[in-house]
């Protein structure tokens, strides 16, 4: 957090620097900067961001001799932030009068819907595809699946998105071209009503984002399943007279999914970065848009806020992966 905080401030330019016709009067800029405490020293800005304006003010009232305290005493009563620690991500600098909490609360569910559906899509298509490829090893089906996997991995969503729009939305007219079909309120904060409109809108972006996942999951499933099928316990299971389907589903697949679960953590990260592009291409009002525009706008509080949410998301994703691990493999136990 500190890294992001200081690095974004080290970038040249600030949120209220404009050029040419748009440039603001010096007095206006000063006023705005003061309102967002940008006139404070960087360490005091950080304190106020993390702990809140009132804490910074209280400290300075008690010991006014700390360097930079004069500015703090001057402005803390205007009160922008209650501090991240109390769940307040501050005010947006470039969207007048809006809180970061409000903006993220609006856009994050949409991003989460897109991301979860993409991961679900990747698992639901990748595992069967990899399984089929492994069972039909070295046949045309296997080669076709492998070719598809390489293709899915190498075509970025920046290319895939417009291609999908062109084919399925513009030429065939099956799906809407862009935007998102879900409307708040959401169940549990992020689960939308499963309307036809929602799925029609979701189909293309989810495919664009999920296809790369499908590809890597399919490749891993294939390799891992092939290895598991050669294990002794599969021979034992065959010696018991189990039919092929039971053999694969009950004995082989669960063992082969262990490495697949392992890469779900890193894959979540790639979904997050992929969603910046996908949301942009499909005009989805998600968080990725804010992430990119806020950097260009030097909207400091927005950058920090979005980064924090993504970091939290990755931590949670990795935790879920660990839990799934223990569920799949009884040899792993949490003490």
């Amino acid at each position: 957090m500190l890294t992001v905080f200081s690095m974004m401030r080290a970038l040249p330019g600030g949120p209220f620097d404009f050029e040419g016709d748009k440039s603001l009067a010096k007095a206006v800029t000063d006023n705005l900067e003061r309102r967002h405490h940008l006139d404070w020293s960087e360490s005091w800005q950080f304190v106020s961001y993390v702990l809140g304006d009132d804490v910074a003010g209280a400290v300075c009232e008690t010991i006014p001799s700390i360097p930079g305290c004069d500015k703090v005493l001057d402005g803390y009563k205007a009160g922008v932030s209650r501090g991240v620690i109390r769940g307040d991500l501050g005010m947006a600098m470039r969207q007048r009068g809006r809180t970061i909490n409000g903006i993220i609360g609006e856009s994050f569910p949409v991003s989460l819907q897109l991301g979860l559906m993409a991961i679900g899509f990747g698992l639901l298509t990748g595992i069967p595809l990899g399984t089929i490829a492994a069972l039909k090893q070295n046949t045309t089906i296997d080669y076709a699946a492998s070719f598809f996997a390489v293709l899915g991995l190498s075509v970025p969503s920046l290319v895939l998105g417009p291609v999908l729009i062109w084919i399925f939305a513009l030429k065939l007219g099956w799906f809407p071209v862009s935007t998102w079909g879900a409307q708040p309120p959401f169940f549990l904060g992020f689960i939308p009503a499963p309307t036809k409109d929602f799925f029609m809108h979701a189909a293309l972006p989810v495919t664009a984002l999920g296809l790369a996942l499908t590809a890597s999951i399919a490749r891993l499933t294939r390799a891992s399943l092939l290895q598991v099928i050669g294990e002794d316990y599969i021979r034992t299971a065959r010696a018991k007279g189990l039919p092929q389907s039971t053999l694969i589903v009950r004995h082989a697949l669960r063992n082969s999914l262990i490495p697949v679960v392992t890469i779900l953590g890193p894959l979540t990260a790639s979904v997050v970065t992929g969603s910046f592009v996908t949301e942009f291409v499909f005009g989805i009002p998600g968080m990725g848009k804010h992430f990119i525009t806020s950097i260009n706008n030097r909207d400091y509080s927005m950058i920090s806020g979005v980064t924090l949410v993504y970091a939290l998301l990755l931590v949670i994703a990795n935790m879920i992966v660990d839990i799934m691990y223990a569920w799949l493999d009884p040899r792993i136990k949490f003490e």
Partner: protein, 340 residues
């Protein structure tokens, strides 16, 4: 006694990038009901592939059973469809494997792994099969059987896992149990326990056993007949006492001489069989053991000897009668000359 299994001219080959591996080269034998037959031989001589071919467990491809018949219960197992064969596997013919550490599925409870065969072949429901699984575990001597049903394989020691494997093999009361080196991966004391266990269970249940091993010491205690394999051929077959007192193939003799004996103290050195088994990629028409044989004569290099009857229930594939005293003296002289 009635024949349970009759193997005729079984040939299994592996088609690899380097060429055709002749793993099993036309072996024929029978197993009677309730009989214990031991198949011995060194690593890579085709013992395991030979028995796995019986119920078509070898990976195909690259493996292929190119010839032969396996008569069991009035049908040729090699001609059955995969579905028909599945009803034999694990049901009438059960198999236990060498390494209990890797032969049990790590992510399924042992209860599940035992009950699935019961549900499949005997049509039991969940409750019946669990009850039967507890009985089986008690039978193979696993303490606290009921509470251990929901444990995973990694919670058992190697010996206990092999007991679980045996319980699994016996679950459907098979007529034939194939034990593929079940004691090789275990400690010596555990080995003895497992051998005793199987011998007792056999008394109790009356099934036939094919016991594969490379340890002639294990064989003596439990088998009634011994088949010695070398390079994918059966080279000698005899009742168990005949193998020890009157071996008729130089290789069998070599195996016997390399068993450590406590009763002879330190006076007698072990005599290993020199050299390596032949390359199964390329078998010339000669006795496969000739390059390592102290008794070899010219004919051994020109023609592979067929199995011939040398006594009651005793066959051997050798051109030389090594039970002949003169032959033994000649061979010993040769050996001494070489040593000098």
């Amino acid at each position: 006694m009635a024949k349970l299994l009759e193997v005729k001219n079984l040939k299994t080959q592996f088609f690899t990038q380097d060429g055709v591996v002749h793993a099993v080269n036309g072996i024929s034998y029978t197993v009677d009901k309730g009989e214990t037959v031991a198949i011995v031989g060194e690593s890579g001589c085709g013992k395991s592939v030979g028995v796995m071919s019986l119920i078509r467990l070898i990976p195909q491809p690259p493996g292929k059973i190119v010839d032969g018949e396996v008569w069991f219960d009035g049908q040729d197992l090699l001609k059955l469809s995969e579905d028909e064969l599945r009803h034999v596997r694990g049901n009438k013919i059960a198999m236990i494997f060498q390494d209990p550490m890797t032969s049990l599925n790590p992510v399924l409870t042992i209860g599940r792994q035992i009950t699935e065969a019961l549900e499949l072949h005997l049509g039991m429901n969940r409750e019946q099969s669990r009850k039967r699984a507890v009985q089986l575990l008690e039978m193979v001597g696993i303490p606290g059987a009921e509470s251990r049903l929901d444990d995973y394989p990694h919670q058992f020691s190697g010996g206990m896992r092999q007991r679980v494997m045996i319980a699994m093999g016996l679950s459907c009361d098979p007529q034939l149990l194939i034990a593929d080196e079940p004691t090789t991966a275990l400690d010596v004391t555990i080995q003895a326990q497992i051998v005793d266990l199987v011998a007792n269970l056999k008394e109790e249940l009356g099934m036939a056993i094919i016991w594969i091993t490379h340890d002639l010491g294990v064989v003596a205690g439990m088998a009634e007949r011994v088949i010695v394999m070398y390079a994918g051929f059966i080279i000698e077959e005899a009742p168990v006492d005949q193998i020890y007192t009157n071996p008729r193939h130089p290789y069998t003799l070599g195996l016997l001489r390399s068993i450590p004996r406590l009763d002879l103290g330190r006076q007698k050195r072990l005599i290993p069989v020199d050299g390596l088994p032949p390359d199964l990629l390329d078998l010339p028409n000669q006795c496969p053991f000739a390059p390592r044989c102290t008794f070899a004569i010219d004919r051994c290099w020109q023609e592979n000897p067929p199995l011939e009857v040398v006594g009651p229930g005793h066959t051997a594939a050798c051109w030389v009668d090594i039970s002949d005293v003169k032959v033994q003296i000649l061979a010993e002289e040769d050996a001494n000359k070489e040593a000098a």
